[in-house]
Symmetry: C2
Subunit: 728 residues, 2 copies
Amino acid sequence: MTSIKKITFLFLIIVPLLFAQKTHPNLLLTKSDVVKIKESLNKYDLFTKSFNDAKKALDEALSKPIDVPYPKDAGGGYTHEKHKQNYNEMHIAGFMYQVTGDEKYARFIKSMLDKYADMYPGLKAHPEAKIESGGRLFWQTLNETVWLTHTIQAYDCIYDWLSSEERAKYEKNIFIPMARFFMIDCEEEFDRIHNHGTWTVTAVGMTGLVLGIDEYVQKALYGSKLDKHGGFIPQLDQLFSPDGYYTEGGYYVRYALWPFFIFAEALANNLTDLNIYDYRDQIIKKAFYSALQMTYSNGAFMPINDALKEKTWLSPEIILGLNFVYERYGQDKQLLSLARQHNRVSLTGAGLLVAKGFQETEVIPDFEWKSVQYTDGGDGLQGGVGIFRHGNKDDMQTLLFKYTSHGLSHGHYDKLHFLFYDQGEEIIQDYGAARFINIEQKFGGRYLPENKSYALQTIAHNTLVVDEKSHFNGKQEVSEKYHPEKYLYDSSNPDFQYMSAVDKDAYPGVKMQRTMILVNDKNLYRPVVIDVLKVLSEKEHQYDLPYYYMGHFISSSFEYNPFTSERNLLGKKNGYQHLWKEAEGITKDGFIITWWNKNRFYSLINSADSTAKIIFTRIGGSDPNFNLRNEPGILIRKNAKDYTFATVIEPHGVFNPTLEFTKDSYSTIQKVSVVYDSEEYTVVKINGNKGINWTLMLSNINADRNKEHEIEYGGIKYKWQGPIFLQK
Amino acid sequence: MTSIKKITFLFLIIVPLLFAQKTHPNLLLTKSDVVKIKESLNKYDLFTKSFNDAKKALDEALSKPIDVPYPKDAGGGYTHEKHKQNYNEMHIAGFMYQVTGDEKYARFIKSMLDKYADMYPGLKAHPEAKIESGGRLFWQTLNETVWLTHTIQAYDCIYDWLSSEERAKYEKNIFIPMARFFMIDCEEEFDRIHNHGTWTVTAVGMTGLVLGIDEYVQKALYGSKLDKHGGFIPQLDQLFSPDGYYTEGGYYVRYALWPFFIFAEALANNLTDLNIYDYRDQIIKKAFYSALQMTYSNGAFMPINDALKEKTWLSPEIILGLNFVYERYGQDKQLLSLARQHNRVSLTGAGLLVAKGFQETEVIPDFEWKSVQYTDGGDGLQGGVGIFRHGNKDDMQTLLFKYTSHGLSHGHYDKLHFLFYDQGEEIIQDYGAARFINIEQKFGGRYLPENKSYALQTIAHNTLVVDEKSHFNGKQEVSEKYHPEKYLYDSSNPDFQYMSAVDKDAYPGVKMQRTMILVNDKNLYRPVVIDVLKVLSEKEHQYDLPYYYMGHFISSSFEYNPFTSERNLLGKKNGYQHLWKEAEGITKDGFIITWWNKNRFYSLINSADSTAKIIFTRIGGSDPNFNLRNEPGILIRKNAKDYTFATVIEPHGVFNPTLEFTKDSYSTIQKVSVVYDSEEYTVVKINGNKGINWTLMLSNINADRNKEHEIEYGGIKYKWQGPIFLQK
């Protein structure tokens, strides 16, 4: 169905593409935006402030000598940061020239372009270009495409002010060779269905729009061979699932959305018949909202795959995207609550509209985080993520369960992995990426070697590791062929939300099924997580299930042997070499580990018997440059064929050091046990104080809500309807 | 001089002590307070809110059955927390009865007292009383004195409402035996010049005031033998220095001030001629302000000695103290800025006054942190602390240099130790105490064994360790005999603040002198710390100087050998057993270590030559119960007789992950070297980029500001005036 649509669509838009931009500027800032902004410049505080801040910073920059240094440094280094600064300043100067009419801004851009026009034609590969997609101005083409994307907008703003000779010079020395470098020399990057590809086609496409070169625009839309194996349209088709989930995850979608919005807006202003904002049932809108839903209550993107935890929705990419979404999709008032946090709008017509909305809206609704599920893959058939929430933003629990496909080059080997948040804090963490972005001493600010050797390996995640190997043996090309299957997702009852997914491919011959439930009960402080991970295998394996808890260890219910005077590594490879073994122990009949974080305690109550080993780990082994954070984990190790790990994570009690007040530092739930387990059914008992006496009944293979199940075991009859039932 | 004054004073006050409290209540809440509060109940929001919050919580408590359990648990356990809750509820109920006139509050107190009256006479030593000063209701008498201090106030509030038979019963069964238990059985505690002693005399003294037993009041003031070897007055004389510094430090003064304010207020209302608030040149006021100056910009008490880092000036003790200071010492408007943070006042006449002030003051000035020095010891002659500040509260540097006396039982072996803060963060930390207060699993919430084995040892601090032994060999009785001597302190020039102190006793035969300077320079992002630690010894020793930096290691200027696959301990005792050795290396000619914290980088630039060893450490060895935080340190080890460690700590650059912007991740200062060093003089060169070329000239033994110095070395003549000079 979709492919037929796309083909029809292709024919429809071929004709209107024969154009040349009639007016300048007409990319993100249009002539009519300029008129509106001039009229309203001091009317809306948020815009006025953003305008004044930008103008002040730019005027200060204008007072200093221009420097266009010969490219030398990688990320974080002087020449790298200077070229970034230059495009940003040119970009703002273009806007300022249009709005204030002050020619000093135009002259500034011209002076800078003159220097680039002198230097660029002589540039060879960047000296720090250690990767395939190396650039000329920057160590990676990625930064260079961002440079062009911004500089072409500045050029567009002073286009009419320049003489035709000047235009010819810049086009000949900079824009055309750079665009051709991206299209031809970096053809693979240009045609990549990946956020780097999006930046590349955006840079080239926008250059085409300004220069009136149809070829650039068409190739930007449909790929270097115009066959839709690359380009903006296939990226919109394939990088997002039908409900807007971006295959690389929440952290990268923030970044990836940036060029999507830039190019979409430029296309909307130039190729109106393309109706880009309506394309694929408003996929751009869906992508934006899914990005927001992938944040925790502090606005930080949940760090699945390669991700830096510092990143929040305060990022400039989100500011720009939010402004366009607000303008193009019906002025959703919820977005104004983010604009309040941003305390800034983009210098565009959309930014003006947000500032107006913010000023004129009396009651701004909070952004509403929801329990939500997203499918993965362009076809929506490649697994997905499920998210549960409980509570309001001041104290919100969030549980994210990941059963997506690989997620391109930034994907991790983390099938059926999960993250858990409470109190505004990570409680069960995802390590994120091993990277200190833009810090030159740390491997030039690039992804560190430990990103590959640890952070993306399975053992770095809260999921099953079989025989100390990563999923798909850590091979991306294999991992990309498979994805888990969703089995259940239901968040309709806020007191009993459940989801379940199955993976059969991460380890040949091993089937993993994980069911995660968020249960709210009046006898407990907060909802608890029930986690049932069922493994089926014909052969015996070593199963390792780690939980990377955040906080300070308080107590365990069993004796362990701590390694207090000498510490050794947990293993030799696949990420195990990065874990110190801090202690190990054997439990008799289930165990409890309790830790403390901020104002609460957390306990992990697990069903392991005496044949399992419990290992305390700490990240940081085999780390000569001290690149890793030294954080704790608890690992359950079991040798078995079929085995089910049943776990409850319970937040409990109060720790108030200001009032020196502590309550319930021991968990209410005291015991979790698997009382019945077959391929078809699993029954788990959960017992504790305050009358907690629960029985969880799972049908592992039949999701039919009306199906009645009955089993008898140990003289007890279990009877229920549907795939899952919790008897209290 | 002081002793003559004290004796005169004693005679003066003996007479007015012959009294019995005429009206009830008349402790912290007086009859006239009650009248004022009734009149103004809904006038001042802060008071109204505090009143309503307390009433709501209490009314809820009143709806539940009263429980006075038989004592069983230590801190954090049920019976412990319940008895704490009980005295708090009785205390508030007393107030509520007085203000609302509702007899249900009086009945509530009576019912509870009935149960205590039944139980208390039969109580023996508390089952968890593992220390000498064990109590009956609680595992330590400390909690029990707090119980009496609050309960006697509740009793005072319903005194007139009770029948004389009821009063006789409570006095006979509870108040008199408990007061006598404290005075007689716990005589040592009662007479202790220590915060536990203050609580004890407060409880007994207030009981005496209400019951009209002069003996209790006099002994509370002057000790169990009335000879001023114990009691409130000697505590005021000896626990505070003449400028108000409390010998245990900032964390404990917060707690210690609580009974001081409670008893002082009760005395002021009953023994007006005592003029307690004017006693010793208003020592109570000075103590309160010195406590506030001992906080960092987030309101947290700088954690010298045993201290929990979570404690801030939001603590209830500070709320109460602030209210009385505001009322009794001229209504300082600055205090209202703290009241805003508290968002609460005490339920007293003073609380009402603060709420009124807060409501009626249009512009509330911020609290002003200052560069300040305090002497230590009752006579002010036992060393002290020096504090430098730079910048406003949004981004304030603070440097604390500690050259105090031991600081009683919570003191650490940390002569010439320092702490450094920036950006609202600890940059060079004090570990504080090893304790999880009120968390039962963690050693009953008491100080952990690691507090003694690590946290109070010298190696846990940023100061010199000789031959791997703690100062005074870790013997408190020896340490208490000595203190360092201040040599310099001058904060008059905000761009060049300096202090210096000398210790000759911590290690026999070793003289240590440390000079710390905060230098602001226009070529640097922020002021830098210059730290010159000079050691003189006739014999050769091993000198270890650790710096516990907070943040993530970024880079070092030298090669080191990292222990990546096996980790061992740094030593066997005196705290060394708690440090893992992570790496070690040798530098050639000075070294730089850089780390990252929040939005900035920090570098430590040191003068060590190739005969010194640099060791990377991490806290957490020999820690079977995982009681310690696993934090990094850098240790400079040098075998020598005389040696001078010269170090600069430089904050630099910008790390902005939201904008993906990094600047100056390398330090500006590149080299620190000692170019001349004798007993008399030390000259240090500090060189770097941006034209930094400084020479620091120190006269180590002559503090005369007018004295001219001249030395010649290596063909260069150094000439300066006064004890310290920085030539730029």
